[in-house]
Amino acid sequence: MDFSSIDPVILIASLIVASTPILLAATGELIVEKSGVLNLGVEGMMIIGAISGFIVCVELNSPLLGLIGAALGGGFLSIVFGIVTQVLRANQVASGLALTMFGLGLASLLGHSYTGIKPPYLSTPDIPFFSEIPILGKILFQHDFVVYFSIISVCLVWYFFRATRFGLIIKAIGENQDSAHALGYNVIKTRILTIFIGGCFAGLAGGYLSLVRVPQWTEGMTAGAGWIALALVVFSSWKPLRLFVGAYIFGGFTILQLNLQAIGIELSVALLSMTPYIVTIIALVIISSSKKQGGSSTPGSLGKVFMEAQ
């Protein structure tokens, strides 16, 4: 066993890449849940993003348009959920689960003739000067732009909910839909908007999988990443910056345990495989139980159907 053969720089750089899909999907779901909607269809929107992004990328031969297509694909699917739950007032849990099944099925139908095709690679932008900083340059400044986008968007979401008027309105709607309605805010329109944005994030996360991380289309390729993203939102107690902690710890331990196995560490492999889940849960339990925080931070109206007549 030789720990020195694990290069921490490569390790950190690859954990950031591995965490990007769940970070993106979790960011989107956080926005949705902040507005009081529980969309369990993240997995379905991700896989639709993965295939629609793949199709656009291959047909137009452009990874960038592919990623946009991925986001829109996820967004369009989420609109279905938005109409069903907001306009038709269906149960959100059931609709979300149905959305996942629908997405998985539709994706394999759409992707039927796209298996075994190699998409054009997404180039990594060359960041002069910064990328040449020893260590930090390789960890932070040699990624593709989706990675930067995911990091920046988490920060923006944090700022958005903290300091912008519209962010506060969304939070108000999520905390108490009836009061927000009484104050004159349009609950349903706002929620459909957040659902769409959440869908776009999930779609982009899926597109990142099929265009960058794996890069290929395979049926069912999200393999549960959407569910992990959902869990991250809960464990981060709806605080955007904590998504970093959750996603990077999860991604980090996934990569670390694979590397530890590759160097032949004398530890139970079953235990190593469990570590990403265990460590993420422990870390998030610790930070969410800190004394500074008063009570539960679950949005008050999460998952509740909004009836205007009340």
């Binding site: 395979t218 694979l258 590759a262």
Partner: protein, 356 residues
């Protein structure tokens, strides 16, 4: 609410009646662990299902359930199949073993075929291919082609079949190149393209320049292509996923077996059997070799394949010691099927432990 339920009950009744009118002689269900579009393990089983449909036309109706988790869900799915009039069920993953036995006990008139398992009953047959024979051949190629002398191996679950594959590949690679080392990563999944890709990257980071995989998706091959190392197609040919990286492939060909078993069921001659076919009958087949493999290595690999198929040599021919140094096979002795089917130890030279 009651009305809605009634509506669906009526609807499903009509559908059931409808299916009764057009009943085929035999209804065959397939249970898949992954999606048919995985272009690996499940894809090949689905090809087998299509071959059955093509061979028998209207006489046989086939259905399939995909992405069925191993365990309680599998039991539910197979019970559902048995209840809905299936006469024969192919359960195509090792982890369906106990569910198959449970459901088979409840439905003695339904014929079960379980892939890669070892438990049988009057209405449960088992079948598998000697993939390890193919792994000997690609192990030889891996040993010859590695420059760093590190072969990375992505393993799924610590079951005898996977351990056997690692041992067979290692022995052949070692014979071809005494300096070869295997680095093995267990991912504890059959199908998770992203995780398989992560494992492939980790192995390449640790110096592997030839990858072998015992998981179901082509993603390790895609990573190998991207990073300029070699890999093999697994279960299916997978050439299109890594035109420069794919040195060869082991292909599972279930078509003849599935057709023969369905034929037996139609003729009323079906009985519980245990089938374990290798390179010779072609249940495990080899895909084309890459032109980057030198001619002499290609010839050696071909000879090895022919010798194994012809029974002149065996993937496990002594002297072979177990990992702990204790003797397993004496000079010239070959492994018996019983030991191979329950294989739970590494052979001498492989580092690391099999997860328990």
């Amino acid at each position: 609410m009651k009305k809605i339920i009634n509506f669906f009950l009526t609807l499903s009744g009509i559908l059931l009646l409808g299916s009764g009118v057009f009943a085929a002689d035999l209804k065959v269900g397939f249970v898949y662990v992954g999606p048919p579009g995985d272009f690996g393990w499940t894809y090949q089983h689905d090809q087998g299902r299509k071959a059955v449909e093509k061979a028998f036309g209207d006489r046989v109706e086939t259905t399939f359930a995909e992405n069925v988790p191993e365990g309680a869900d599998a039991e539910r799915v197979m019970t559902q199949m048995a209840l809905s009039g299936h006469d024969m069920i192919f359960a195509t993953s090792f982890g369906y073993m106990d569910p198959v036995m449970n459901v088979a006990a409840k439905f003695p008139n339904v014929k079960f075929e379980h892939a890669t398992g070892y438990k049988r009953a009057d209405n449960v047959s088992t079948y598998s291919a000697r993939f390890y024979e193919g792994r000997s051949v690609i192990g030889h190629i891996a040993g010859k082609m590695t420059k760093s002398n590190v072969v990375g191996y992505i393993a799924s679950f610590p079951i005898p079949e996977v351990v056997r594959g690692i041992n067979a590949a290692y022995l052949a690679a070692k014979a071809a190149n005494p300096n070869v080392k295997f680095k093995i990563v267990w991912v504890f999944t059959w199908f998770d393209p992203a995780k398989e890709a992560d494992a492939a990257n980790a192995l390449i980071d640790q110096g592997a320049d030839v990858l072998m995989a015992h998981t179901d998706s082509p993603s390790p091959l895609t990573v190998a292509e991207e990073r300029g190392v070699f890999a093999f197609g697994q279960a299916s040919d997978m050439l299109q996923f890594g035109p420069n990286a794919r040195l060869g492939s082991i292909i599972d060909d279930w078509d003849p077996y599935y057709i023969a078993r369905v034929q037996a069921a139609l003729d009323g001659t079906w009985e519980s059997t245990d089938t374990w076919d290798g390179l010779a009958p072609g249940m495990a087949a080899l895909g084309g070799f890459h032109e980057k493999i030198p001619m002499d290595v290609r010839a050696e690999a071909m000879n090895l394949a022919v010798a194994i198929a012809g029974g002149r040599t065996h993937s496990f021919t002594g002297p072979i010691n177990r990992q702990d140094g204790s003797a397993w096979l004496a000079e010239g002795e070959t492994a018996d099927d019983g030991t191979l089917l329950g294989m739970n130890f590494y052979v001498e030279g492989i580092e690391g432990d099999i997860p328990q």
